[in-house]
C-alpha cells in the first residue's frame, strides 16, 4: 500500500527487536502431551487449540506470532481472558511457554539459562504491571532504585540514576513517600519509573493506565508518548481501550481465545476488519478523526493539476466541508511533495462504509 510508507512512524525502523514465533501456552495437567516439536509450528493451529480445550486444558496462548521493531509501539487488545497478559509473561518468561520461540535480538529467550535470564531482565527488559507491584516496604526512590540495588550498584550511583527517571515521570518531591501514601496514578508512575531505571531496550506494559481516571489517563498517555519520543524503545503495550490504542499504537494485534485474529496499523483494522470480532472493537471509534487524507486517497496515474493540495496526515473531518464544495476532490501530497493520489467525497463515503456494521438498506431501482 502506498499510504503505509507515508504514515508509518518515522521513529520505527525496520529492524526487528523482539519476535514471538508460534508461541503456545497451555494450562492443565499435562500440557506437553500436545506438542511433538518444541517450536510450536503446527499445520492447523485452530484445530489443535480446539482439541486441547476439549481435553480439559486451558489454551491461554495459541500459536501467537508477531514482531516488534526497534522504536515501535505494538499494542495488544482483546477481551478479558484472551491471553494478553499471558503473552507478555511468556515474553518475559514469568511463565514458561509450552511451545514456540521468543526471539530477542535474534536469540531465543527460552533457551537462556537462569543466569542469562536474570541478566536480560536486569539490562534489556522492563515491565510495568497492571496493579503496580511496588515493594510496600520501600519508599519511592528506593522502589525505583531497587533493580539497580539488585545489580549491586552502589547507593550513591543508584540514587542519582533514580533521580533522573523520577524527573522523567514527574514525581520530584515524593521521593521519600511510601507506596501506600501515593494515589493510584502516582504509584503507576513509580512502576513506570522503576522499569525505566535500568534503561531497558524492550518495554512491556500490561494495562498500565487502566486503573486511572480518564483525565489522568490522558495525561499519562501524553507523558508516555513524550518519554517514548525521547527514549525510542521497543514496546509491547496492552490495553482494553481502543481510543488509547489509537493514540499510542504504531501497529496493533487483536486477540481472541489465546490466538491473534488480526495484526496491522489501527487504520487497517478500522478499514479492513477481518471479522465481526475485530469490527466490534472499532465500532465506537470516531472514524472521521482517525482516518487521514492518505487513507482515503485514490491513486492516479500522471500529474494532477487544477485542484487543491493537502498534506497526507490531514484528518478527514477537517476536509469534509471542502470536499462537499469541490466535487473534483483534493490532491494528497506526501511529505516529500510527491502526489499520493486524489481524495474525493465518494472515497470518504466508501471508507466510512467499509467499517460500518450497519446492514445496507435495500434500494429500489
Amino acid at each position: 500500500m502506498t499510504s503505509e510508507a507515508a504514515v508509518s512512524n518515522a521513529a520505527a525502523s525496520t529492524k526487528v527487536k523482539l519476535s514471538c514465533r508460534n508461541v503456545w501456552k497451555i494450562y492443565g495437567e499435562n500440557p506437553a502431551q500436545f506438542f511433538d516439536a518444541g517450536n510450536g509450528v503446527v499445520d492447523t493451529p485452530q484445530a489443535l487449540a480446539d482439541s486441547i480445550a476439549n481435553n480439559d486444558h486451558i489454551v491461554a496462548n495459541a500459536d501467537v506470532s508477531f514482531d516488534v521493531h526497534v522504536g515501535e509501539i505494538f499494542v495488544i487488545m482483546g477481551l478479558s481472558g484472551s491471553g494478553k497478559s499471558t503473552i507478555v509473561r511468556c515474553i518475559s518468561r514469568l511463565v514458561e511457554p509450552t511451545a514456540g520461540a521468543i526471539l530477542l535480538d535474534g536469540e531465543d529467550v527460552l533457551k537462556k539459562s537462569d543466569a542469562e535470564l536474570i541478566d536480560i531482565r536486569r539490562h534489556k527488559m522492563g515491565m510495568v504491571f497492571q496493579s503496580f507491584g511496588l515493594m510496600p516496604h520501600l519508599n519511592v526512590i528506593e522502589n525505583i532504585a531497587f533493580p539497580l540495588k539488585l545489580q549491586g550498584i552502589g547507593e550513591q550511583d543508584r540514587y542519582t540514576q533514580a533521580e533522573r527517571v523520577i524527573e522523567l515521570v514527574g514525581l520530584q518531591g515524593r521521593e521519600s513517600n511510601f507506596p501506600n501514601e501515593l494515589s493510584g496514578g502516582q504509584q503507576q508512575r513509580v512502576g513506570i519509573a522503576r522499569s525505566l531505571a535500568v534503561e531497558p531496550e524492550v518495554w512491556l506494559l500490561d494495562e498500565p493506565f487502566s486503573a486511572l481516571d480518564p483525565l489522568i489517563r490522558k495525561r499519562m498517555q501524553d507523558e508516555f508518548l513524550r518519554i517514548q519520543s525521547v527514549l525510542n524503545k521497543s514496546i509491547v503495550f496492552i490495553t482494553h481501550d481502543f481510543q488509547e490504542a489509537l493514540r499510542v499504537a504504531d501497529r496493533m494485534a487483536i486477540m481472541r481465545d489465546g490466538a491473534i485474529v488480526q495484526i496491522g496499523r489501527p487504520v487497517d483494522l478500522i478499514l479492513n476488519p477481518v471479522d465481526d470480532y475485530v469490527r466490534e472493537f472499532t465500532r465506537d471509534v470516531p472514524w472521521e478523526s482517525v482516518l487521514s487524507a492518505a487513507d482515503v486517497a485514490e491513486a492516479v496515474d500522471g500529474p494532477v493539476s487544477g485542484i487543491g493540495r493537502i498534506a497526507a496526515d490531514t484528518p478527514i473531518d477537517s476536509l469534509l466541508s471542502y470536499l462537499g464544495d469541490n466535487a473534483d476532490g483534493v490532491a494528497v501530497e506526501a511529505a516529500d511533495g510527491s502526489i499520493i493520489g486524489i481524495a474525493r467525497a465518494a472515497n470518504v463515503v466508501k471508507a466510512l462504509a467499509t467499517g460500518s456494521g450497519a446492514t445496507p438498506a435495500v434500494v429500489r431501482k
Binding site: 536486569r122 504491571f129 496493579s131 507491584g133 515493594m135 516496604h137 519508599n139 539488585l150 513517600n177 511510601f178
Partner: protein, 691 residues
C-alpha cells in the same frame, strides 16, 4: 417454619433409642458402664519403657545439650541481676517509647516501679532472662521451619499436624518428658517455652510469605532478582508485618510457658513466687506477684505489637532513622549516666528490703475478714451451683436429687413428668423451628437426667462420632470414633468425661454470658469501650494469675476451677459476637430496615442469624480457651484428665501423664474441627465468608 423430616432426623431418633436401650441394659451388663480393666491397652507402660530406654541410651546427648543451653541463660541472668534496676528499667522504658510512644512508656515506668517497690525485681529479671533467651530461639526455629514448609508441600504436611499437637497437648504433659531428658533446672523451662512458642511463628511465617501479592514477586523477578535476592529482599520484607505478629505471639506464648514451667521449681522466678505463695495460702502475696506477671505480659505484648503495627505504616524513613540513631545514643548515654547515678545512690541500684512496701498483710487481713463475715453467702453460692448445676450434669438428676440436696426424694412420677415435659418441648421445637433443635433438646434431657459420667460409654462414642460425621463429613466422623476409641481402650474414659463435664458447663455458661455481653456491646459503644480493656487484660494475663482471686475466695475445688475457666473463656465469646454483629453487610441491614423490622426482630431474625458463623468461631475459641484453662485449673483440684496429667508430672509417671495429655488434645481437636466445620457450613449456606 414447617419441620423438614429428612434422613438425618430419623437416624438421630434411632440413636436416641439405642442410647435409651443401652441405659436400660446398663444394670445388667457391667462393661457398658465401665470399660473392662483387663482389656485396657497399656500404652502408658510402653511409653515409660520407651522413655527409660531413651534416657539410658541417649541421656548423655540430651544432658550435653542441656549443659550447653545453661550458659546463655546464666549469662543473661547474671547481666540482668548485676545491672542496677534503674539502668534496666530505663532501657526497657526507652524500648517502650520507641515501640509505641509516651503512653506506653509511662505504663512501663509504672510497672517497673511497682516491681521494684513491691520487692519482686530480682524474680522478674530471672523470668525475663529466660524469656530473652527463649524468644530468639523460638523465632529463629519457627522462621526456619516456616520457610521450609513454605517451600515444600511435603514438609508442610509433616509440620502442620506437629504444630497442632504441640499447641493442644497440655504443657504439663511434656514438661515431664523434658525434665527426664534434660534434667532438672532452668533448661526445662527454656525448652518447654521454645516448644510452645515456636508454632505461632511457623504459622505466621507461612501465612506471611504466602500472602505476598503475585505482582510484587513478579516485579521482583523482572527487576532481575536472583532466587536469594527474591526471598530476602522481596518476600521477607513484604511480609514483615505478619512476621512481627508472629514474634508478638511467640513472645506471649514464651512468657506464659516460662511461668507454667516454674511449677517444676528451682528457678527463683516470679512464677515460682506466685505458686509457692498460693501453696502457703498467702493470697495477698500471690496476688501481688501475679500482678507482676500480668504487668510484664502487658508491657511485652504492647511493645511487640507496637513494633509490628509500626512497621506496617512505613512512614518517613529519614525521620525514624534519625530517631533510631538517636535512641542508640540515648540508650548508651543514658544507660551510663544512670549507672553512675545508681553507683552513687545505692537505693537506685538495689532497692533495700526495708524499703519494700507490700500491702499483702493488710490484703490478707481484709480477705480473712471478708471470708469470715460472708461465709454464709459464699457457702450458699457454692452449694447452689454445686447441687443444682454441677452435680446433675455430672451424675444426673437421677443421682443428685435427694432430700439432702434438693429437699425431696425423686419419685417415679417426677421422672415421668420430666420425660413427658421434655418430649413435649422437643415436639414443640420440632414443629415451630427445626427438628434438629428437638433432637438437641432430647439429647440434653437425657444427659441431664442420667448424668454425663453415668452414661454408657458406647452410646456416647456413638453420639459424638455420629454428630462429627453429620457436621464435618465422614473423615471427621471416623477420626472422632478412633480418637474416642483411644480414650476408651487406654482406660481413662471416666476421667475424660469428668473433664468434658467441667469444661462443657464452663463453656456453655461462658458462651451464653459472653454472647449476651457481646450483643450488648455491639449495640452500645460505651459498653464496648468498657469491655475492651478488660478483655485485653484477661487475654494477655498468664493463666496462673486468673486462678488467684477465685482461690482466695472460694478455696480449692471444682467450683473455683469452673469460675476461673469462665473468666478466661468468656473473652472470645464476647469478642467474636461483637465483631460478628458489628461487621454485617450494610445492604442487608438497610433492606431489613426498609421492610419495617422492629429493633428486636432485626436482632433476632436478621443480625444474629447472619452473625452466627462468626459467633460459632467464637464458640470454637471459647472451647479452646476453656480447655487451656482447664489444664491449669488442675492446680486447684479437679478430677478429670487434667488432674491425671498433673499427677503424672508430680509422680514422675511420664506415660500416664502423656496419655492423659493426648486424650485432652484429642477432645480439643474434635471440638475444634466440629465447630469449624459447622461455621463453614453456615457460611456456605449464607453465601458469605468470614476471615
Amino acid at each position: 417454619m414447617e419441620g423438614r423430616l429428612d434422613h438425618g432426623v430419623y437416624q438421630w431418633l434411632a440413636i436416641i433409642l439405642i442410647t435409651l436401650g443401652l441405659i436400660a441394659a446398663q444394670p445388667h451388663i457391667d462393661w457398658l458402664t465401665s470399660y473392662p480393666k483387663n482389656l485396657i491397652v497399656p500404652f502408658a507402660d510402653w511409653l515409660n519403657a520407651m522413655m527409660d530406654w531413651l534416657v539410658t541410651h541417649l541421656g548423655w546427648l540430651f544432658m550435653g545439650v542441656s549443659w550447653l543451653l545453661e550458659w546463655p541463660i546464666k549469662g543473661v541472668r547474671i547481666i540482668l541481676q548485676a545491672l542496677p534496676w534503674l539502668v534496666t528499667g530505663f532501657l526497657i522504658c526507652l524500648v517502650a517509647f520507641i515501640a509505641s510512644g509516651w503512653k506506653l512508656m509511662l505504663f512501663t515506668l509504672a510497672s517497673c516501679l511497682y516491681m521494684v517497690i513491691i520487692g519482686y525485681w530480682s524474680e522478674s529479671m530471672n523470668t525475663l532472662s529466660l524469656v530473652a533467651i527463649s524468644v530468639p530461639m523460638a523465632i529463629l526455629f519457627g522462621f526456619g521451619l516456616g520457610v521450609w514448609a513454605f517451600n515444600s508441600r511435603q514438609a508442610e504436611r509433616v509440620i502442620m499436624p506437629m504444630l497442632d499437637i504441640l499447641q493442644t497437648v497440655p504443657a504439663f504433659a511434656y514438661l515431664l518428658l523434658i525434665l527426664m531428658l534434660f534434667g532438672f533446672g532452668t533448661v526445662v523451662g527454656l525448652i518447654a517455652s521454645v516448644l510452645y512458642s515456636f508454632p505461632p511463628m511457623v504459622r505466621n511465617t507461612i501465612v506471611g510469605l504466602r500472602r505476598v501479592p503475585a505482582e510484587v514477586i513478579e516485579s521482583g523477578l523482572m527487576s532481575g532478582a536472583t532466587a536469594r535476592q527474591l526471598f530476602w529482599q522481596v518476600r521477607v520484607p513484604s511480609s514483615k508485618r505478619q512476621l512481627l505478629l508472629g514474634v508478638n505471639q511467640a513472645t506471649m506464648a514464651s512468657l506464659s510457658m516460662v511461668i507454667i514451667a516454674s511449677i517444676i521449681g528451682g528457678t527463683a522466678d516470679i512464677g515460682w513466687e506466685v505458686l509457692s505463695q498460693i501453696r502457703k495460702a498467702q493470697f495477698g502475696e500471690s496476688l501481688l506477684a501475679g500482678l507482676v506477671i500480668a504487668l510484664m505480659a502487658m508491657v511485652i505484648d504492647r511493645v511487640t505489637s507496637g513494633l509490628a503495627s509500626q512497621s506496617g505504616e512505613y512512614e518517613n524513613r529519614k525521620g525514624s532513622q534519625k530517631l533510631r540513631q538517636h535512641s542508640l545514643m540515648i540508650a548508651v548515654g543514658g544507660g551510663l549516666a544512670f549507672y553512675a547515678l545508681a553507683k552513687l545512690v545505692p537505693v537506685l541500684e538495689v532497692w533495700p528490703r526495708e524499703m519494700e512496701f507490700s500491702p499483702a498483710r493488710s490484703m490478707n487481713e481484709s480477705l480473712t475478714y471478708l471470708i469470715v463475715n460472708f461465709r454464709k453467702e459464699i457457702e450458699m453460692i457454692k452449694t447452689v451451683a454445686f447441687f443444682f448445676v454441677m452435680l446433675p450434669t455430672k451424675i444426673g438428676l437421677q443421682g443428685s436429687i435427694s432430700p439432702f440436696t434438693w429437699g425431696f426424694e425423686l419419685q417415679t412420677w417426677h421422672s415421668l413428668a420430666y420425660a413427658t415435659s421434655m418430649t413435649v418441648i422437643g415436639a414443640i421445637c420440632a414443629y415451630r423451628f427445626n427438628p434438629y433443635i428437638a433432637i438437641f433438646v432430647l439429647l440434653f434431657a437425657i444427659f441431664f437426667y442420667f448424668g454425663l459420667t453415668k452414661m454408657p460409654w458406647p452410646s456416647l462414642v456413638l453420639i459424638y462420632s455420629f454428630a462429627a460425621w453429620r457436621v464435618g463429613g465422614l473423615r471427621l466422623g471416623i477420626g472422632t470414633f478412633f480418637g474416642l476409641g483411644f480414650i476408651v481402650v487406654t482406660g481413662i474414659w471416666p476421667e475424660a468425661m469428668l473433664s468434658v463435664y467441667l469444661c462443657s458447663i464452663a463453656v456453655i455458661i461462658s458462651f451464653i454470658l459472653g454472647a449476651g455481653l457481646g450483643i450488648w456491646a455491639a449495640g452500645s459503644d460505651t459498653v464496648s469501650a468498657i469491655l475492651r480493656p478488660i478483655n485485653d487484660t484477661l487475654q494477655t494475663m498468664p493463666l496462673f494469675v486468673i486462678l488467684i482471686p477465685f482461690v482466695m475466695i472460694f478455696k480449692i475445688g471444682e467450683f473455683t476451677a469452673l469460675l476461673a475457666i469462665i473468666a478466661y473463656a468468656i473473652v472470645p465469646a464476647i469478642r467474636y459476637t461483637e465483631h460478628g454483629l458489628r461487621n454485617l453487610s450494610e445492604g442487608v441491614i438497610e433492606a431489613a430496615e426498609m421492610m419495617g423490622c422492629t429493633k428486636r426482630q432485626m436482632l433476632w431474625s436478621v443480625k444474629i442469624p447472619l452473625a452466627l458463623p462468626v459467633m460459632m468461631l467464637g464458640l470454637n475459641q471459647t472451647i479452646m480457651y476453656g480447655i487451656a484453662m482447664l489444664v491449669i485449673a488442675a492446680l486447684v483440684g479437679t478430677n478429670g484428665l487434667e488432674q491425671v496429667v498433673y499427677i503424672g508430672l508430680s509422680d514422675g509417671n511420664f506415660g500416664v501423664g502423656l496419655i492423659a495429655g493426648m486424650a485432652l488434645a484429642i477432645i480439643a481437636m474434635i471440638a475444634d474441627r466440629m465447630t469449624q466445620a459447622w461455621s463453614r457450613n453456615r457460611q456456605s449456606d449464607l453465601d458469605i465468608s468470614v476471615t
